[in-house]
């Protein structure tokens, strides 16, 4: 950590004014500290703040010379054009699969690192987090004689502890300089995937320490005065499984930032340096001002939205993501107190900055998508978190699959907003139910049919089902929560580069909906099997196999849960070659009918660590659905039977959930019978529902069920008291307390637990049958 003398607070009794340092003494101390700092790690003063920086003296000077709003708008549009062009360069030339499907963004920043404008397409969260590394560079490297910042330099980093969505992403940040002064930055960030983590693909669900998370690049000067440093490049290539990818995409980002810089240079020539600087600054400030005004339009009050996540990605648990949002006038306070503690040997933790980046994503894509995408959007919102919770992880927590927590930051804001904005007469986005929030997708790695070592992921993560709107069904497999215009990619193109086939691709799964007056968008199933490779494996990295990941809105239901299904010890390619009729594949048929002799049919939760996939073994998952909106009994019966006819829902759902009666042969709705059935279902609700207080007395328990591995507050009356499951001894015990009073939370290896259980059973049976066996340890 970086220590400054400001952080040494006098202890009690030591506050004698005579002990304060003189200016001269302070300079000596500062110099000493600068020269002897052991390690310039992530700086809490930078990493824990998301507010825009105060105006610099130079910005003040530029703004004082006058602002023409029309000119600012023209500059912004020119920048938007340049950023979109750079975006397309990355998309069309990028080697990373993520780049090809728009999992990237380009941006322009103020000198102090505030995002002024982003490319219209791409991932908002990427650039909404990059003010952190720019501030780090400005603070530590600008005046550092061994580094320095010069025209033509470019900085690289990927470690989310220094400000990044997650460690798969890599940035290129380039200063805009005039007369030796930094007046702005431009940048490009791409989800590169492979990063040398303990598993291929860059998002290891199996990571158990920060050192399993892969490449840990703090901001480093990879480009010096326009030249890519070969020594550092070689180090980065050597640190990951895909050296070609590293080289190709660093060059792509250099090209993209150069293209942005060309426009910036021309703009400065045309409008003048001061106008350019002023326009960047006032854009950031204007967004902040407008956000405050829009907060003021919302009703004062508090909306609470709690989420429960069912997996560490190695075992099933329940960990809470608590969120209470309070609006008072133009103030908004987001309070995550009550969120479960970090788990120090599991991959699901997120650095605070990453969690906040997805809050920005929600604000700029689902609350107020018309605003310029700027740091100013989140800046006026106060955010309360507790360090060492899983949404605000400490330095020593693994963060390999931090999206588990950071996506919940998105869902907390996106879901709560339907209630916050419903009564507002002025809205800037539609009332919508929760978007699906898991990357149900295959990650993969190994040796390709072309003999290359790779590790990355399928594009299917971009097929998340949209939440239902208040006036129409959600769209099927429409877009990931983090990128409105992402692409699902062409599977056939991918198959030229990677040694597996998607034997089933994009087939909708029946009943995979959030039911409601309007239903959520559906997800589709994917079935893959490796082929023609000496070594290959698959991974999955999500939760939501026991507890639904997203709920519905205003009486609508949430999504179902999602299994991982596998058939091991078969070769599907041999089977269908011998009998082509067996190419009738679906997860439902394969798993229920078990048609392949000798196959080992398995299901599991969606946290699959790298699993060696022998040729022709089947791996099956489904993409998720968005939440439903409104009471199911208000859904137009014609829409219900249309879904039924298309096999999107089962007869059981049409009858028992939607209360529709139809003619089996023709799918004609029996209107009167439907009215009568629905009236009866409403009466049944009234009969079985219990008055709230009576229900509470029966349902609510003091603590979670004993066998449930639970983490977080219980209820919302005392969010500061967290519960956790602690393995201080052999058996787990439930502990309670404030975050600072809890012991370090870790989870034992599940294989060790399984072996212990089996050993206990062996002893039990030996005792039962009187067998004497010697067990040496």
């Amino acid at each position: 950590m970086t220590l400054t003398t400001d952080q040494f607070v006098p202890t009690s009794g030591d506050d004698d004014a005579s002990q304060l340092l003189t200016d001269q003494e302070q300079q000596w101390v500062d110099k000493f500290m600068d020269e002897t700092t052991l390690f310039l790690g992530p700086d809490p003063a930078i990493m824990r703040t998301h507010e825009i920086m105060p105006r610099t003296a130079y910005e003040e000077e530029c703004i004082a010379k006058g602002i023409d709003p029309l000119e600012v708008d023209r500059i912004r549009k020119r920048l938007a054009g340049a950023l979109d062009e750079a975006f397309e360069m990355c998309e069309s030339m990028g080697a990373a699969p993520g780049a090809k499907w728009a999992d990237l963004s380009c941006a322009v920043y103020t000198a102090e690192g505030d995002v002024t404008y982003l490319s219209n397409r791409g991932v908002i969260a990427f650039s909404a987090v990059l003010h952190h590394p720019i501030r780090y560079i400005m603070k530590n490297w600008k005046d550092e004689p061994t580094v320095g910042i010069n025209p033509g330099d470019g900085f690289f980093h990927n470690d989310s502890r220094f400000g990044m969505v997650h460690n798969t992403d890599q940035s290129m940040l380039v200063p805009v300089m005039r007369d030796g002064i930094i007046i702005a930055w431009v940048g490009a960030t791409i989800h590169e995937g492979e990063n040398g983590a303990c598993e291929p693909g860059g998002m290891p669900s199996g990571s158990e320490s920060p050192f399993d998370d892969g490449l840990r690049a703090s901001p480093i000067k990879i480009v010096e005065k326009g030249h890519l440093r070969r020594d550092l490049l070689t180090f980065l290539q050597h640190s990951t499984r895909d050296p070609k990818l590293m080289l190709a995409d660093i060059k792509v980002k250099m090209g993209a930032t150069r293209r942005i810089m060309d426009t910036v240079d021309r703009l400065i020539d045309e409008v003048g340096q001061e106008t350019f600087v002023a326009s960047l600054r006032v854009t950031v400030e204007d967004v902040e001002t407008e956000v405050r005004r829009r907060i003021g339009e919302l009703p004062d009050g508090t909306v609470t939205f709690n989420q429960f996540v069912d997996s560490t990605l190695k075992e099933n648990i329940l960990i809470k993501f608590a969120c209470k949002i309070t609006v008072k006038g133009e103030r908004m306070i987001i309070d995550l107190t009550g969120t479960g503690p970090e788990i120090l040997n599991r991959a699901l933790n997120s650095p605070l900055a990453s969690t906040k980046s997805f809050m920005s994503q929600a604000v700029l894509s689902y609350w107020w998508p018309d605003l310029p995408r700027s740091t100013g959007a989140l800046s006026p919102i106060e955010i309360i978190t507790e360090e060492h919770t899983w949404a605000d992880a400490g330095y020593d927590a693994p963060v390999g699959q931090s999206l588990q927590a950071s996506f919940r930051g998105f869902s907390a804001l996106q879901s709560a907003f339907a209630k916050m904005q419903f009564s507002s007469p002025q809205k800037y986005s539609n009332v919508v139910a929760p978007w699906f929030n898991q990357i149900n997708d295959f990650l993969w790695g190994g040796t390709t049919q072309n003999g290359e070592q790779v590790g990355n992921l399928c594009a299917d993560l971009n097929g998340m089902g949209g939440g239902a709107k208040a006036f129409r069904d959600g769209e099927d497999a429409v877009a990931p929560l983090f990128c409105a215009m992402a692409d699902l990619g062409e599977q056939e193109v991918m198959e030229e580069e990677v040694p597996f086939l998607q034997l089933v691709s994009k087939r909708l799964v029946r009943d995979n909906q959030g039911f409601g007056k309007y239903r959520g968008g559906m997800g589709y199933e994917m079935m893959v099997a490796s082929r023609g490779t000496p070594s290959w494996g698959f991974m999955t990295v999500t939760s939501g196999s026991k507890f639904s990941s997203v709920p519905g809105m205003f009486g609508g239901y949430g999504c179902p849960v999602y299994p991982l299904a596998m058939v091991k010890d078969i070769n599907i390619y041999d089977i269908i070659k011998k009998d082509p009729s067996q190419f009738n594949l679906s997860m439902e048929r394969v798993m229920n009918e078990q048609p392949f002799e000798g196959g080992d049919y398995q299901t599991g939760h969606m946290g699959l660590q790298f699993d060696v996939a022998k040729e022709g073994e089947l791996y099956m998952i489904a993409q998720g659905a968005g939440g439903g909106y409104g009471d199911v009994l208000e859904r137009d019966p014609e829409l219900v039977v249309t879904d039924l006819e298309l096999d999107r829902i089962s007869a059981q759902v049409a009858t028992n959930v939607y209360g529709v009666v139809w003619e089996a042969d023709t799918f004609v709705v029996h209107e009167q019978a439907t009215i009568e059935l629905r009236a009866q279902m409403r009466q049944d609700r009234i009969s079985r529902g219990k008055p709230y207080k009576e229900f509470i007395a029966e349902f609510v328990q003091e603590e979670p069920p004993k066998d449930l591995l639970y983490y977080g507050s219980w209820g919302q009356d005392n969010n500061e008291e967290l519960l956790a499951t602690h393995w201080g001894k052999i058996e787990p015990e439930r502990v309670k307390g404030k975050i600072e009073d809890l012991p370090l939370i870790m989870v034992p290896d599940r294989r060790v637990l399984k072996i212990s259980k089996l050993e206990a059973r062996v002893r039990e049976l030996e005792q039962k049958y009187g067998e004497v066996a010697v067990h040496k340890s």
């Binding site: 039911f515 709920p551 205003f554």
Partner: protein, 151 residues
């Protein structure tokens, strides 16, 4: 003056009560938790989300595990409308999801000057235009519509 606060809930600023937009049922003090005026049912999530793969053979089936997840259904006691469906761990207290500052709400609408039942909609776009007036007094369409202003 009645303000649509959700799809099925209005706040009557004159009486400061939560009321059902469908049937006018009174859920209680608008400064408090509307859920206290509802009927609640602890739904086994497997009844709503049926398994796609055989639960006799497999642990993970597309159907939530009732030992992890319950669905609390909140109903209007008069019309039976499902106002909210909350996914919770078994035994976890239901969330107090909305608490509003009624004085501020009144001030904002007084300043606005419009009728909330007429001006609140689902957001931008033609499709999002909505009639969010109380359904219980709209035997003739839209009792508070402009058509009636002259009467």
């Amino acid at each position: 003056m009645r303000v649509p606060m959700t799809e099925y809930l209005l706040i009557d600023l004159d009486t400061e009560r939560w009321i059902c937009r469908v049937c006018a049922h009174d859920f209680g003090d608008a400064r408090g938790n509307y859920k206290e005026g509802t009927l609640v049912y602890d739904r086994d999530p497997q009844e709503i989300h049926p398994p796609v793969i055989d639960p006799e053979k497999y642990e993970f089936t597309f159907s939530p595990d009732p030992a992890f997840c319950r669905i609390l259904e909140f109903y209007c006691p008069t019309c039976g409308t499902q106002i909210e469906a909350e996914y919770l761990p078994p035994g976890h207290p239901p969330t107090v999801d909305m608490l509003w500052d009624i004085d501020s709400l009144r001030e904002k609408w007084d300043a606005h000057g419009g009728n909330p039942e007429e001006v609140v909609n689902y957001g931008p776009g033609e499709n999002a235009e909505a009639d969010l007036s109380a359904r219980f007094d709209s035997v003739t369409p839209h009792a508070h519509s402009r058509q009636n202003e002259g009467h």
